[in-house]
Symmetry: C2
Subunit: 423 residues, 2 copies
């Protein structure tokens, strides 16, 4: 039996409030409110790329890979998305991002990145190196050329988005990468990885990305939760490659893992002392995918509806899953995989919003966690004679209002005393 | 479709035969015969430990771990064993080898090692480090002490058997080692591996063994044929640990792999450029173990008989499997796991000989490969005017008889011309 507690994510903090003159604001009525979570509550931002691009005059005719609502639907999703999530994953699937060599989709993605940043959303790029969706034009290049083109691609993307995207899935699904054979003609990245080995391929991605982006956070991401991924991680770390976080996918199209398995998985991967990012989290609100399917891409029925029973189940599982994840101190990010069923990966009813734009119960349930149970709503307080209030809340950004003035402060781990000055 | 050929294991070699005076033995009738295979056709030698020890006056009361016929049965197995196999795996299961700390079973195993060497059999020790059968007395020791005791054990065994055992399974089943949980109380080796990591544990075993035994061959051995083992191997090699051969277990209690899967497995592990040893090969002559069993140790029925149909299937599969393995140039050793059903691991009908001591069809079939189809039986030849004969045979040791004199030579890869002098 697992006892879940997220108490490690909040703390009682003494905030000394000062007026614009620097003197403590003694014995005053103030209103304290949370502005942002420090924890990364993420979702994919694929649906808003066209919308953001169109708003700065870039034609919305780019390719759609792995999800993306049409522009009209996206407009109605903006508020729902921003009300719950503070971190967006943007798509850099190479075959879609650079369908013709030398013509990358940089401008459109830059527009999307700026659109999110203007709205206070942190960004992650996904992924820099991956065998799936490696561009077809790379397939016939000689070995050494493949390597240099991959290296250049990594540098190009990290460089172009510096200051906007500070976290990247540097490389995706390396466990299967060199032995991936679910394709008619072997892609060039699989060929590269098979030739030079998994760890040199990881090193290549991390070194190139690190070389460009000072301070960039680089994630090793995989769907393989078996001992294989453990062995890969141990080899990568022994080889001295600096990994900032371990990414764990969890596309649960074949059913919710449950608390026990989830916790055991977190425990196995937490023992490397690195933060864990739940990079791709999916729970369905319809029929489950049959358990015998090995590659999820192999199952794409013509119709895969969201059902009332499925929606209730999804809401229950979303709450249970987020409670489990947030209870584990190693988890620093949970990225849900899809805001809407419209254009969802595999056509699955994986979104938190139905294709018609109405929120599913899972959306409301997740919002209730993120913006209510785990959130400090505006709370009236009174400072003491030294201008102090005691704030109990989740790590994150806060504001305190006194009349027409506002002060901001952050609650952070290991910071029991903070100062805030009204302006 | 795989085309199997073992032609890379033999070659046409010109042998110049000289008399005791050094002059070419021209125009003479000689008889050429193979004496030994260079290829390691191995089996466990567990059954003969008591017998060998008793022959030098050591009481046969040692523990039996993972197989071992009683002494009377063993006597009747000697000839069968030696007629087919040239390499024996000796048991160094720590809990059995050193049931009380400081009292290792060295003398008895030394007697067994000498017994085999006297009969021209090469030896492998199995295993130096393994979580299963780690001694119970190690369990309560503090962490740093566990590591130093493990290191000392590796040095002790390799040192004591220097000159007798030249190949060791340095470490066994590292993929599962740190997450092994099929036991009531965690063993000390799992605890060590979980604390320091898989690769440092591998390094520990290899470094200690290498430090003692100059020229010793060290094998990394596992039952996990998934990408996990690939990832482990890649990490170990990236870390600079010198592995002499990759060991692949293949206890096929749940059914023969078949040619396709076997070949694909060999191909995946051959790509590291290291020799492959099929360290533990089992095919049953009775009912198969149900496929849902994950840890083979969890299935030990009270009775598991060899059946006539099972014996025919086993013979067919043994031949097909050895043909496949020998056809792959990376494979340097095939070790069958058990000569007899008597005392066989799990009680399974895995032996090549029935519990009553009579050979199964698989024994005869394997013997026909090893000592007939892949073997040069005594063959009359006539030297030319320069004393030369052309011998076409498998790599190995040969003798040539001329009257009462005999010369020996070896056929080896990349050696098209050899000399042999009668004595």
């Amino acid at each position: 039996m697992i006892t879940l507690s997220s108490s490690h994510r909040s703390h009682s903090t003494v905030v000394t409030l000062r007026g614009p003159d620097g003197a403590p604001l003694a014995d005053a009525d103030v209103m304290v409110r949370q502005v942002r979570h420090a924890f990364a509550f993420g979702n994919i931002g694929f649906d808003f790329v066209d919308l953001a691009a169109a708003q700065v005059g870039i034609a919305a005719d780019g390719p759609h890979v792995f999800g993306g609502a049409d522009r009209e639907s996206a407009e109605r999703l903006v508020e729902l998305w921003l009300d719950v999530f503070n971190t967006a994953t943007l798509p850099f699937y190479w075959a879609g991002f650079e369908p013709a060599e030398g013509r990358p989709d940089t401008e459109r993605l830059l527009a999307a990145a700026r659109w999110f940043r203007e709205r206070g959303v942190s960004l992650k790029g996904h992924p820099l190196v991956w065998h799936t969706l490696a561009p077809g034009w790379l397939r016939d290049r000689p070995d050494d050329e493949v390597e240099s083109v991959v290296r250049a691609r990594v540098r190009r993307e990290v460089g172009a988005f510096a200051g906007l995207i500070d976290t990247w899935d540097a490389i995706n699904e390396v466990v299967i990468m060199p032995v991936f054979d679910n394709e008619e003609r072997q892609n060039a990245v699989t060929r590269l990885c098979r030739r030079i080995g998994r760890i040199p391929t990881v090193r290549l991605a991390f070194e190139e990305a690190r070389g460009v982006g000072a301070g960039v956070r680089l994630v090793l991401n995989d769907f393989d939760m078996s001992t294989a991924y453990e062995c890969l991680i141990e080899g990568v770390l022994e080889a001295g490659i600096q990994v900032d976080a371990i990414g764990l996918q969890s596309h649960m199209h074949q059913g919710y893992w449950g608390e026990e398995r989830t916790w055991a998985t977190l425990e196995r991967f937490a023992r490397y002392g690195l933060p864990l990012q739940m990079t791709e989290t999916t729970l369905l609100s319809g029929d489950l995918m049959p358990p015998e399917i090995e590659d999820l891409n192999d199952f794409q029925p013509s119709s895969w509806p969201s059902t009332p029973e499925g929606e209730e189940r999804q809401a229950d599982e979303v709450v249970r899953h987020y409670r489990t994840l947030l209870a584990h101190p190693a988890v620093e990010a949970v990225n849900y995989w899809g805001i809407t069923d419209r254009g969802a990966w595999l056509g699955a009813p994986a979104g938190l919003v139905r294709a018609d734009g109405t929120p599913k119960p899972a959306y409301d349930a997740l919002r209730a966690l993120v913006k209510d149970e785990w959130w400090l709503s505006p709370t009236p307080m009174r400072t003491d004679g030294a201008g102090r209030i005691t704030v109990e809340g989740w790590w994150g950004d806060y504001a305190v209002d006194s009349g027409a003035s506002t002060a901001t402060f952050a609650l952070e781990r290991d910071t029991p005393l903070v100062q805030a000055t009204l302006a």
